[in-house]
């Protein structure tokens, strides 16, 4: 392989691996127009990244304001009850629809997927750009609704409240509808790319597991999002025309809205977690310096999760007047999702077993993920059990469970992936010390914030309430302190990563010793991704790469297959 490799070719070591000075996708065109009209998946990925991080910041501010308000039980300082309702609605809606759903697929996935396939771009570059602008349009509509009377329904828009409140529900719902299109386009693009653009030598079961994760995600995006679309259209029709499908006084059924909504929104939490699991699968092998354990099981469990996720929506409605028979079936199916999820966790742990674990920043996020997702996943079983759910429904226990899965799972994996691919995206290394400090602060801050909410919720503290009983004050205060720690953690991470953009050490082509194809091109990659189309090999043959002290990165091991 040493002869045909464009980056690691004989005599090419050390030279040409960092492309910051030469031709790369960042320097390929100049000016705002070259960015706004780009069809390059890497640039679209970067634009997505900037946009979703801005949304994350906004959503985070809302969260900190809520937590600050909850420091004292009966106080009306900082915001009135109505503003409080708007705050938690916007926190949820912004974080879910603007940040976490497009988070890993559209930002990291867009950048990495074609590179992992050894391809020049995704299958439909123009559709990719259209998807980004759909996102922008949806975000603008959401902002407009904040300006014209922020929604106070909770992010679930339950009828009949959402059809009677005088907030600007139509604008917000239209925004979410448009964001759904953005999500569908991304998923469609990824499915076709994975089917049609795989290089020679990459069969389905030699694909990196991140791609399996994205594939499972894309299936859900394609199959579930249209149902949300029609639900939201009906909600708009209900408000604008009084169509009556969800209005009991006109013979409609508000529970039907809940069925429709959760038919999308339960699979949607797997849109959020599946790509995160894909990221973890990549990271755990690279940073254990060991081949992934149980490849086929991890790959197929992604598909199993995607399929089962469509059959469990009723577990959100155990106390909504659903028949007991339906509840029992939904409960049983909910327990079944735990099986493929656990298959993944066991395989990751088995990958670490007897590996030589390298505690670099991304690996710290992997370890955080395993703990936090473990807790989040197992508490999901409490909530899936019928009798327990009656007690825990609509308490802080649900809030804590959701955040352990979505934050402890998805956001942590997103941060791990961000640190892992940052050198590839921008060609610079961040400070390892500050990266680790950030990871630690996030871990501690997160647990302080949300573990207390488990305790509080199991004592019956209702969620979404403006005032609360004085006996919960200690928990609320601990939780608020934790959220400040969490905020500091994010500040450290942001400063570290941004600092790296300007002052970081130039990154080698393969700083971590990954064996997937994106590490075979320079950092940052050239416009066409690869100087010559790489030949795909085993994506987890990390032992074929050895650390080169002089280079500060990995090179193919002499005598190893390396491909």
């Amino acid at each position: 392989m040493a002869t045909n490799d464009p980056v690691f070719g004989a005599g090419g070591l050390g030279a040409g691996q960092n492309a910051l000075g030469g031709d790369n996708y960042l320097s390929h065109g100049h000016g705002l127009k070259s960015w706004l009209l780009t069809l390059d998946h890497k640039r679209i990925g970067v634009m997505y990244l900037v946009s979703i991080l801005a949304s994350f910041f906004l959503g985070g501010i809302f969260a900190l304001l809520i937590r600050t308000k909850l420091l004292t039980p009966g106080s009306s300082a900082l915001m009135d009850a109505n503003t409080y309702n708007q705050m938690f609605t916007l926190h949820g809606a912004v974080m879910i629809f603007l940040f976490i759903i497009p988070g890993i697929p559209a930002a990291l996935g867009n950048f990495v997927l074609p590179l992992m396939l050894g391809a020049k771009d995704v299958a439909f570059p123009r559709l990719n750009l259209a998807s980004y602008y759909m996102w922008v349009a949806g975000a603008l509509l959401a902002l407009l609704s904040i300006a014209t009377g922020a929604v106070d329904t909770g992010w679930t828009f339950y009828t009949p409240y959402s059809t009677t409140t005088n907030a600007s529900v139509i604008t917000m719902v239209a925004g979410v509808f448009v964001l759904g299109f953005s999500s569908i386009f991304t998923g469609l693009n990824f499915v076709v790319s994975i089917h049609k653009l795989r290089p020679e030598g990459m069969s389905w079961f030699r694909m990196p597991l991140f791609l399996w994760g994205l594939y499972g995600t894309a299936i859900i995006q394609i199959m579930a999002t249209p149902v949300l679309g029609i639900t939201l259209l009906l909600l708009i029709a209900e408000r604008a025309l009084g169509v009556g499908i969800f209005d009991p006084s006109l013979g409609g059924d508000p529970i039907l809205f809940q069925h429709f909504f959760w038919f999308y929104s339960h699979p949607a939490v797997y849109i959020m977690i599946l790509p995160a699991m894909g990221v973890i699968s990549e990271l755990v092998s690279v940073f254990s310096r060991k081949h992934i354990f149980g490849y086929t099981f991890i790959a197929l469990s992604s598909i199993a999760i995607a399929v089962i996720s469509f059959l469990v929506w009723g577990h959100h409605m155990f106390v909504a007047g659903q028949s007991n028979l339906a509840s029992m079936i939904f409960s049983a199916l909910t327990f079944m999702v735990a099986i493929p999820s656990a298959v993944k966790v066991f395989n990751w742990v088995a990958t670490m077993y007897k590996g030589s674990i390298w505690l670099a920043t991304p690996m710290l996020y992997v370890l955080s993920f395993l703990f936090l997702f473990g807790i989040g996943g197992l508490t999901g079983l409490f909530l899936g059990a019928l009798a327990v759910d009656v007690h825990l429904h609509d308490t802080y226990f649900v809030v804590a469970h959701f955040h352990y899965v979505m934050f402890g799972g998805t956001v942590i994996a997103f941060l791990g992936g961000l640190h892992y691919w940052w050198p590839k995206m921008f060609g610079r290394m961040y400070s390892e010390l500050w990266g680790r400090v950030g990871a630690l602060l996030v871990f501690v801050g997160f647990n302080t914030t949300f573990f207390t909410q488990f305790v509080m919720g199991s004592h019956g503290a209702p969620r979404r309430s403006y005032h609360y009983l004085p006996e919960f004050q200690t928990y609320h205060q601990l939780s608020t302190i934790g959220s400040y720690l969490l905020g500091m953690g994010f500040l450290v991470i942001a400063v570290n990563l941004v600092h790296a953009l300007f002052r970081g050490r130039p990154a080698p082509a393969n700083p971590w010793g990954g064996a997937t194809l994106e590490w075979r091109t320079s950092s940052p990659p050239p416009h066409d991704n690869f100087a010559a189309t790489p030949v795909a090999g085993d994506p987890y043959d990390v032992e074929a790469w050895a650390f080169d002290r002089q280079l500060g990165g990995f090179v193919p091991r002499a005598g190893g297959s390396g491909s």
Binding site: G29, V192, I222, I230, L325, H527
Partner: protein, 270 residues
């Protein structure tokens, strides 16, 4: 070669091959797969409405039985025939594109668009009639319906729930729900003894949302086919490159197919 030029360079070489595909065949297959996936999302979009239809029809069959008589079966049948014809001209157009018969392609696309316009025209006649009669959705429903001749005494025996958990201990009401027929019995409004069932607007809410969403898809299809027509007139399609016509055809057949389900479900209930 900049980003946007990437494709124009390829086109300058006489082909339509984008720079990230290896062969024209790979590009064609990608486009086709993408279109099929898009059609799947369309089916799921309509799926929500079909689901709402199923829920309301199974919980209130009497509403559907009563209200569907206000739809004009003849006009519905004519519209079905019109759309099936348009699918035929569309399929023929795709064949002409593959064979490079430009003039025939343009004519057939025009015929398809004309048939789509005809469909919408007939739909307009139907909508106008409903509008005048007040046979509208939810809040807007204000039709004058025939009233019962005499009060009805319905059987006090309720139908037991299928779910054993839900059998109630509360004594059955003296009167059954208005207009609900027992199995095997003719609905009360048909025997002339009962009034129209309550909540007729539910049927029209379902009718207008389903046919309305379908109508929007017909309009979108007409726009798409017009674009194809303009490109075909410029002679862009031939045996080497006919993907857009093919994909537009797939879309049009789906629009047709949705109507083929809507017609019996809404018009031919009895």
């Amino acid at each position: 070669m900049t980003n946007s030029k990437g494709e124009s360079v390829a086109e300058a070489h006489g082909g339509h091959l984008a720079h990230h595909f290896d062969t024209a065949e790979q590009q064609f297959e990608s486009g086709k797969l993408g279109m099929w996936i898009f059609l799947a999302t369309e089916i799921l979009l309509f799926g929500g409405l079909f689901c709402a239809y199923a829920v309301y029809r199974s919980s209130h069959p009497e509403i559907f039985l009563y209200a569907h008589r206000y739809l004009d079966k003849t006009l519905g049948a004519i519209n079905t025939a019109v759309l099936i014809c348009s699918s035929f001209t569309m399929a023929w157009a795709v064949r002409c594109a593959q064979l490079g018969r430009r003039k025939a392609l343009v004519r057939l696309l025009a015929a398809t668009i004309a048939l789509a316009g005809c469909f919408l025209g007939i739909k307009y006649v139907e909508y106008e009639h409903k509008w005048k009669e007040g046979l509208l959705w939810g809040k807007r429903f204000h039709a004058k319906l025939e009233q019962p001749a005499a009060p009805v005494v319905a059987s006090p025996v309720p139908t037991p729930s299928v779910n054993p958990e839900e059998r109630s201990l509360i004594a059955p009401a003296a009167e059954g729900p208005k207009g609900l027929a027992k199995p095997g019995q003719r609905p009360l409004w048909e025997t002339g003894t009962g009034g129209p069932p309550k909540n007729l607007q539910t049927f029209f809410a379902v009718y207008f949302t389903m046919t309305g969403l379908h109508g929007i898809h017909v309009i979108a299809g007409m726009v798409l086919l017009t674009l194809m027509l303009l490109r075909a007139r410029r002679g862009e399609f031939g045996p080497a490159y006919f993907t857009p016509v093919d994909l537009a055809g797939l879309y049009w057949h789906l629009v047709d197919l949705v109507w083929i389900y809507l017609f019996p479900l809404l018009y031919l209930i009895r």
